[in-house]
Amino acid sequence: MSEQQDELIQRVVEELRRPVALDSSLDERVMARIRNEPVRLPEPRRWLLRPFTLRLSPLGALAAAAGFAALVAATTLAVVRSGWLAGVPGSAGATPGVAAVPFVLYAPDAHSVSVVGDFNDWDAAATPLKPAGPSGTWVVTVPLAPGRYRYAFVIDGTRWVPDPGAPLAPADDFGTPNSVLTVGS
């Protein structure tokens, strides 16, 4: 009886030790089954922390790369066009050929004087002149690149006057004459 049991156990052990021959397509079938499993929405926190694999076709990758390049170009262009870089210390002063141009006006009765022109986008608040002592002379120095500029002085925020010592600009389109200034390179 005991010998019969031992023989049985021995056969069972041999059977268990025999290598199992797996179907070569088993892996593919298992992975296909997993892929075809319906997607279960994970919990938000796990979803945020779980790494994922982004798969793109070559065309999709090209489109994404082109989009990214366009985004960078558009942002750079917008920053440059906005003039933001002009406010960065050293960026304007470092421009070669820029000359420091003094603007001077004698206006003893004025309370405020500013110079307004092509060089400051006609912004009356951009370039105020400062009184140079009690003589009634107002002065400011503006860094200007080579070019031809139209400008005028604004006295007390309301009165536009051309520079009495500079040539008049043509085309007095708005009823108040301007002066013209040429800065050489």
């Binding site: 793109l56 994404a64 366009a70 986008d121 503006v142 800065v183 050489g184």
Partner: protein, 228 residues
């Protein structure tokens, strides 16, 4: 069958999602590029004048004309609180002047040359005079000579005299010297000299050897103002 149906929809939705993201990205970039092409300073222009001004500028740029002087003119009108029709008319007129200058000087003319030529034309300088300047000084930059011609015309110097003076001077001296010459002329006029006589005197000085114009000053108009 149900799983197959679900998986196909999942793939379709996934593909649609990526396509949507790409389309949104493309639209965003296109919008940003289009927005960047319109100068942000135009937002300051009178809202009633802005559409027409933008249209004029777009047409001018498409024709190869510089946008900067047109933007400046619109900003000038806005700053001076001019009515919208006046702003539009001024910008349109300047675009026309720049177009005439471009036609006159050719497609190779730089923006500064077009601006100076437009000024000269606006002061009544005949086209032939500008063409003469270009013919005589063609191998050098014309922005300063043309600007000086315009400024002389503004002072009442006859165009032919102004052109002769500028050509004679520009053949001998640099742009910096021309600007020094103009500054000297402005000083003489401010001291009471008659513009034509002062121009002639300076022309003689430039034509003579040892002119003394060294080129150290590089600007005219702004500096060394006198009391009015």
């Amino acid at each position: 069958m149900s799983k197959l149906f679900t998986n196909r929809w999942a793939r379709l939705i996934s593909s649609g999602f990526y396509a949507g993201v790409a389309a949104l990205l493309f639209c965003f970039c296109s919008w940003k590029i289009a927005a960047a092409q319109q100068d942000p300073r135009l937002e300051r222009v009178d809202p009633q004048a802005r559409p027409a001004v933008v249209a004029i500028i777009d047409s001018a740029v498409a024709a190869g004309l510089p946008a900067e002087p047109l933007i400046d003119r619109a900003l000038e009108g806005t700053s001076k609180k001019a009515p919208a029709p006046l702003i539009v008319a001024a910008v349109r007129r300047l675009a026309g002047d720049l177009g005439k200058a471009r036609k006159l000087l050719g497609p190779g003319a730089r923006a500064a040359e077009l601006i100076a030529a437009a000024d000269a034309l606006r002061w009544g300088t005949p086209s032939q005079v500008l063409l003469r300047i270009q013919r005589e000084l063609g191998n050098r930059g014309l922005a300063v000579p043309l600007g000086l011609t315009a400024d002389l015309a503004a002072r009442g110097v006859p165009p032919d005299t102004a052109a002769a003076m500028v050509i004679a001077a520009a053949r001998r001296v640099t742009d910096a010297d021309l600007l020094a010459l103009q500054r000297e002329l402005e000083r003489s006029i401010a001291l009471g000299a008659e513009p034509v006589a002062a121009s002639a005197a300076i022309l003689v000085e430039v034509a003579a050897p040892g002119t003394g114009l060294s080129g150290e000053p590089t600007m005219t108009g702004g500096p060394a103002r006198r009391k009015p």
